[in-house]
């Protein structure tokens, strides 16, 4: 019997797994980007390039690395769009898409975190098919192929470089729009640990906890299945083992490289086994109060794990074992509680606040009720292992806030 999974009965009658993104990993991979991309037949006619990034990445010199990597290749950089904010919005997407059309760009290189990569996905969509983001909101509404994207993550959490979806904020309504489509997968993900070597400790913590949330929620998803299960569990283990080290010792490239890989694995997992209630709450609070997505997930995660525990105790028990819990002779529920305790301890070690109110999110009854109602309408709730009506979910939201 396996130590982690205990050879449980296989309950799925069928499943599917899809992953069209090619992954290129290696220290110094970006330095050879032109050569790497020119190998790809599908990109041979895509030589009008736009780099999409943000000002922080630009200032850190990471765009320069890409420019050097593309020198002497067939790829000509037509423009660098560096206006993506930390929490990108519809106006930025529209502006970027217009530039794509004006310059007849046919390849996007996204260098950054989730906001940058998701902006690139939306801009590729609008730049190809026209219209507005809202026209394609939801699942599988994108009518066909989009301008290809090469994604180069500079954070260790989003998984957007290998994921099916993208999220953007509508600042006017303070809501987040989600689109999932196989046409949004980047063509290539380039993972170079040097691109995360200078990531500030705070962002390593936030984005790493985002990845851990992806891994845990994919593992307990109603749509869990063997392939994403393997990816999620390995990701959870790597994140647990390396997150604190990577935050506290910026020189530990090995730990950061593992976080980068784990983030990708978790992204692959949740693209096929979607995330649940943590994200539903996080999307809502993040949309209303502008919190960093990873931070927002990190705060809600252990509370949601507690809420879900009785729905799938053996899953949380397996996570506990992945987190180095070696207790034997105790129930799955008890093991699950230990997994939750480990996540809470990690949160504290990383300096993540306990609750949203610690970040000045209002904790009055009206806010709690509003967050509850909006979160219950989030698509992620469809994949949470425990379903809930308002009366059951509201106390959870109250705890988290």
């Amino acid at each position: 019997m396996g130590f982690i999974n205990r050879n449980e009965v296989f309950e799925r009658s069928e499943f599917s797994f899809f992953l069209p993104t090619q992954v290129k990993y290696g220290v110094g991979k970006v330095a050879a980007l032109g050569m790497e991309l020119q190998i790809e037949d599908e990109l041979s006619s895509c030589n009008n390039v736009m780099i999409i990034t943000d000002k922080g990445v630009l200032a850190a010199g990471l765009v320069e690395k890409v420019k050097v990597g593309l020198a002497d290749s067939i790829f000509e950089i037509k423009a660098i769009f560096d206006e993506v904010p930390p929490d990108s919005d519809l106006k930025i997407v529209a502006k970027c898409a217009q530039e794509i059309k004006n310059l007849e760009v046919n390849l996007l290189i996204a260098i950054g975190g989730g906001s940058v990569m998701d902006t690139a996905k939306f801009a590729a969509l609008i730049g190809t098919h026209g219209g507005e983001v809202r026209d394609y909101e939801g699942g599988f509404m994108v009518p066909g192929k989009c301008i290809p994207i090469v994604a180069i993550p500079t954070t260790v959490g989003t998984g957007s470089e290998v994921s099916i979806g993208a999220v953007v904020k509508d600042h006017e309504t303070k809501t987040k729009l989600t689109i999932a489509s196989p046409h949004l997968y980047p063509k290539i993900a380039v993972l170079d640990p040097e691109m995360v070597a200078t990531l500030p400790a705070k962002l390593v913590a936030y984005t790493g906890m985002d990845a851990l949330t992806h891994a845990i929620e994919a593992y307990v998803s109603t749509e869990n299945q063997p392939v994403s299960e393997a990816l999620a569990l390995r990701a959870a283990e790597m994140l647990y083992d390396n997150l604190e080290i990577a935050v506290k010792d910026a020189s530990n490239l090995d730990a950061r490289a593992k976080l980068q890989i784990a983030s990708m694995l978790a992204g692959m997992a949740f693209s096929n086994s979607p995330v649940g209630a943590t994200h539903a709450i996080s999307h809502t609070v993040g949309g209303l109060y502008g919190l960093h997505h990873g931070l927002s997930n990190a705060i809600a995660l252990p509370y949601v794990m507690e809420f879900n525990l009785e729905s799938c105790p053996s899953r949380y028990a397996a996570l506990a074992r992945a987190f180095n819990v070696i207790e034997s002779g105790i129930s799955d529920i008890e093991l699950g509680k230990l997994a939750i305790e480990r996540v809470r301890t990690l949160k504290v070690a990383l300096g993540i606040p306990e609750r949203y109110r610690d970040l000045d999110v209002p904790s009055d009854p009206d806010t709690i009720n509003r967050v509850t109602e909006i979160a219950l309408m989030d698509i992620c709730m469809a994949f949470n292992p425990r379903k809930a009506e308002f009366a059951e979910f509201q106390p959870l939201v109250e705890q988290v806030i």
Partner: protein, 178 residues
Amino acid sequence: MIKYYTKVWLEECVKRVNADSVFEQDAKKLNGTYVFRVYDGPDGKDRVMTWVFKQGKITDQAYEAQTAPWQELRSAPFNPTWAMRGSCPFNMMAALNKGEMTPMRALSSPHYKLEGNKMVLMQLMRPMSMWNDICAKVEVTYEFTSEDDTTSETITAESAPSESVSVDNNTSRESASN
């Protein structure tokens, strides 16, 4: 006026769906059997509707109602050859049809049970949404008594008599929901 979730409503929905040229064009990915169980109707009945799609056309459908709780229906296992089965109380289905509840809100509820591969269903979100929109435009009343719908018959697309829809897991008859 047509009473919601009755044989007459189903027939009207089928007629409209199959006559909709935009739907026909855009819903070709919609294939297979979609089953909906709706419990505790205002007439004290449980209902099951089955819709079979082929290339976006409804090629067969079935309807049956029996006094609630119809245990055989409620305990029938999901047939893995079906594309999906949705199950919920009548009031929830009515709220969805009236637009008082969003599908997302229903999916977060413990009272709405969705079976089938959700990742595949997500890929069918657009045609399913169109199908739902067509059905929601049928003018209906939600008020009826046990005398209004006494059937436990099955209907087919051709309105020809057919075998009753089976709740047995091994049946190959299918249908959709809404």
